[in-house]
Symmetry: C2
Subunit: 250 residues, 2 copies
């Protein structure tokens, strides 16, 4: 482990986005509800958002395993949407309305601490997305929500979706840093576990409302997690302590 | 030309960086001078900067033609530096000092209007680099100089240096836009001519001092240039007029 840098030497933070930085569920439910009101249909808006999101992992896995050729998230979201509209028997949307609804994923609200926390973190670290979202989606979302990224990194740049190792390893290559100087920040343990297996540092920021209210939140530490924080402002404080003391606060 | 969008529909501006956004010559001369003072050698600092820069195009061309395998700009800058140190018979730098000097290209000062102008332009457009510099260089430079990019685009992402068409065309793909809605901004006509040949809109911002004082500035219009501006603040004003009136101001 001669190459392993202490956590105080982390230079860049890369963030999972859907669920970690933004509240996809409430934002998507709001957009489908707005379309429903315009078009005169009613359904379980939150449930529709959940189903749209649920199609995401399986469709990426088809790309990851080679069953599907490379397709970006806009394309995958659209495939899932078309299938959901059929399931719900919604026939009243024309092509441009479907395109607009599909781009709801470019207009997701940040969690209330996200912009302030990222702004603090940016003072001491390179901050970027590391998302399966495509570059256009991430750039549009950043402008919509005021996310102050130094740059946008995306699975699209290396055509490997997380949890493929190539996605995590690309951060070190693009930033010209040893992988141990890059920290993955996510609300999802599986993302952090995969990141750590490539050598990244990890911060876990559980988002209790990602899947709606009354969902139990996993706050258990894991051997592949370096820091657990309540939100990005708390993460900024904890990383300040790391820089001051060289060790990780409880 | 049915697909050609009017200039008022431009959504993204992509900027050449070396010479267009930052003053490489003064910044590099300053850094080599500082090393010279520390190490006790004297040479023509501006001339050294010019020679270092002059090696850039030919070394990229070796990559573009396949004579060299893909190598990023940090690597190419280092090859040129090693050769220059030999030419000047400078033997007093150790490896870490050479690495630090090579990274002078990550610490280039913006022109005096760059940050203010980009900040205005960011209100109405996606703004990004489109540089042959690698991602790490561009991100570090943006943090050093306060360049408020929405994201960093680099030839490194598609492993094609400008003026390869792939570099320009990648902007449309990454931003999910027709290429006619992306405008290339550069201080160099050859960059704009190549950009236009792929369908991009173009803005020419001559930088009279890029190659030092007393160098004549080419301000001639060309059929491949849409807008000529004095600096980025002037570009912001001219693009406001375009959005208001739909046509390009004189």
């Amino acid at each position: 482990m001669a190459n392993f840098h202490p956590i105080s030497e982390v230079k860049a933070l890369t963030f999972d986005v859907f669920g970690t930085v933004v509240d996809w569920r409430k934002s998507i439910a709001r957009e489908i509800k707005q379309v429903g009101i315009e078009k005169g249909f009613i359904l379980d808006w939150d449930g529709f958002a959940d189903e749209w999101r649920a199609g995401y992992g399986p469709s990426m896995n088809k790309v990851r395993t080679g069953e599907l050729e490379w397709a970006n998230i806009d394309t995958l979201h659209r495939m899932i949407l078309d299938s959901l509209l059929e399931t719900y028997n919604i026939n009243s949307l024309d092509e441009s309305e479907k395109q607009r609804l599909n781009k709801a994923w470019h207009r997701l609200d940040p969690w209330s601490d996200s912009v302030e926390g990222l702004t603090y973190l940016k003072e001491n670290y390179i901050i970027s997305s590391l998302s399966n979202g495509n570059v256009a989606l991430l750039v549009n979302m950043a402008k919509y929500g005021g996310l102050p990224w130094d740059t946008v990194l995306s699975a699209e740049l290396v055509r490997h979706y997380k949890p493929d190792r190539e996605a995590y390893l690309s951060t070190a290559e693009f930033f010209g840093l040893p992988i141990e100087k890059v920290m993955m920040v996510a609300a999802h343990k599986n993302d952090l576990k995969s990141a750590r297996s490539t050598g990244m540092r990890t911060a876990y920021v559980p988002r209790p409302n990602e899947h709606g209210p009354n969902v139990e939140t996993d706050r258990e530490p894991e051997d592949y997690i370096d820091i657990i924080a309540d939100d990005f402002i708390d993460l900024s404080k904890k990383l300040s302590k790391v820089r001051e003391t060289g060790s990780i606060p409880e």
